[in-house]
Symmetry: C2
Subunit: 299 residues, 2 copies
């Protein structure tokens, strides 16, 4: 069954030290949907303006992404511009033009309401709530977020994470939310806020799952060069949810391998600007890196 | 056969936010030797003053550490005092009194010169050279270091690492040495400086081995609370070398499991001030955490 992914669909202008890369396809839902598409069909809900390039619509289609839930509104597509420091860890936003995203309300096509696997990719928690309100009986719902919502919509976010099975955030956000420097102490506090599964992303250091069955230490795939980390976190959760939705058995049995697959898709994401490298990736490339991660971690 | 460990033997005064812990047994060789002792006998080479507490000599002995190479000189034992920030990642040196360490020249007892496994724990590279000059045909030599030597004795250090099988440093030092932000790019450059095996320590994020057989991503054991990370890096290499020296087969076949064991001993080290927790650890406790790490990383 298709995985449902709701989030932002944007045009990203990324400025590294070398050259500007204007208006690449970006946004949390775009990265997550393409990542999920390697494992099976995807239903996407988002909004774009009437300036949204046709080639990006074609790109979604090429990846078996159903676009019935992609709203096209008069106006401009959400545009984000940012730059990275040399070490690729610190990002600075240069410009945010919300455009049609400002008045976005995610409407789910009837068929999407029965989705079993739902990824609430990074958007305002109020919109993530609105999606959940329309769902019938989803089996496994995961929400991602970003520091912005911790700053300006903490109440909404805290109510949201009581409604989801899994909550994903990065180490900086976990610290901001719990005031704990220690990742494992932070995980304990986040469970008390509701979610059964909590995943803390640590960039090139991998990620940690905390589940009723215990922790899982998930490695990042070794990369000698990171070209552009934009969307890597979205690719990670997208790949994870895509894998989960199409794996046999209950999600708790597949979560570890799902994270590994997400981690590998995120590694491809980092190797090109925007979705450039990810969209040139084949399922066989992913499987090869998963096998390699098995070798890199066995002892 | 005993593993030979040469390094500093010191008294550490550690000031966390809570309370001062004066003149605990410390130094790279002390932490490494106690860590190695869980796996078999250890020969220690270091220097202490005539103020060195008898209870610390007894503690070494309790851990089957041979002290024929521990020089006792008139004067004061090397004393270091430092404090940690709340997040336990940043350390600040408050005081360094070299004492008898200032004129230390490591003399190896005759029997030690035939050691097969040698750990040059963190001391001045010139002293590490001096140890190697006295060795006959060691099978596997590993050197550890610290940022201080990169700053004041880089030439000596670069000559040293051409003489060893394995070189261990932390991520900050790897960046300082190679100017590379990316760990895997740094590893590549460090191999070109000589060593066949390079290990980069990343604290709570674990460590990475780069070997002719490929990388190994070694996890850190999950700790909810770090009491005092002083000596954790020394415990890691000490545990690793102790395990290697007593494992069957060639070192290249045992290095991954050796790192895992080192990582576990380092986790105990972090759970108490100085060596307080490590010395209360039993081999069975270590084996239990190793098994747990197997479960925490399998997918």
């Amino acid at each position: 069954m298709s995985v449902l992914i709701v989030g932002s669909t944007a045009l990203d202008s990324i400025k590294p030290a070398t050259a500007e890369n204007p208006r690449l396809l970006g946004g949390s839902a775009s990265h997550a949907a393409v990542a999920a598409s390697f494992f099976g069909p995807v239903n996407l809900v988002g909004v774009v303006g009437d300036d949204f390039p046709k080639r990006y619509v074609q790109l979604y289609r090429k990846h078996r992404i159903d676009l019935e839930g992609l709203q096209v509104e008069p106006g401009k597509t959400f545009h984000w511009s940012g730059e990275y420091e040399v070490n690729m860890n610190n990002r600075r936003t240069l410009l945010t033009e919300l455009g049609v995203f400002e008045k976005f309300t995610p409407h789910l096509p009837a068929a999407y309401k029965q989705s079993q696997y739902v990824l609430l990719a990074n958007i305002a928690p109020s919109l993530q709530h609105h999606v959940l309100d329309q769902m019938q009986r989803p089996k496994f719902v995961v929400a991602d977020t970003m520091d912005l919502w911790l700053n300006i919509a903490l109440g909404d976010l805290l109510r949201l994470i009581r409604r989801v099975d899994g909550f994903v955030l990065n180490d900086g956000e976990a610290h901001q939310l719990t005031k704990e420097n220690n990742v494992f102490a932070a995980l304990k506090k986040i469970h008390k806020l509701g979610p059964k599964y909590v995943i803390i992303k640590k960039g090139s250091h991998g990620s940690i799952l905390s589940a009723p069955q215990g922790f899982f230490i998930c490695p990042a795939y070794p990369l000698h060069k990171v070209v552009d980390p934009t969307g890597a976190g979205d690719a990670f959760v997208g790949g994870m949810m895509g894998y989960l939705a199409h794996a046999k058995g209950p999600p708790e049995n597949n979560l570890r391998r799902a994270m590994i697959h997400g981690s590998v898709v995120a590694s491809f994401c980092c190797e090109g600007f925007g979705l450039n490298r990810t969209t040139r990736t084949k399922r066989a490339d992913i499987d090869r890196r998963v096998k390699e991660l098995e070798r890199l971690t066995e002892f």
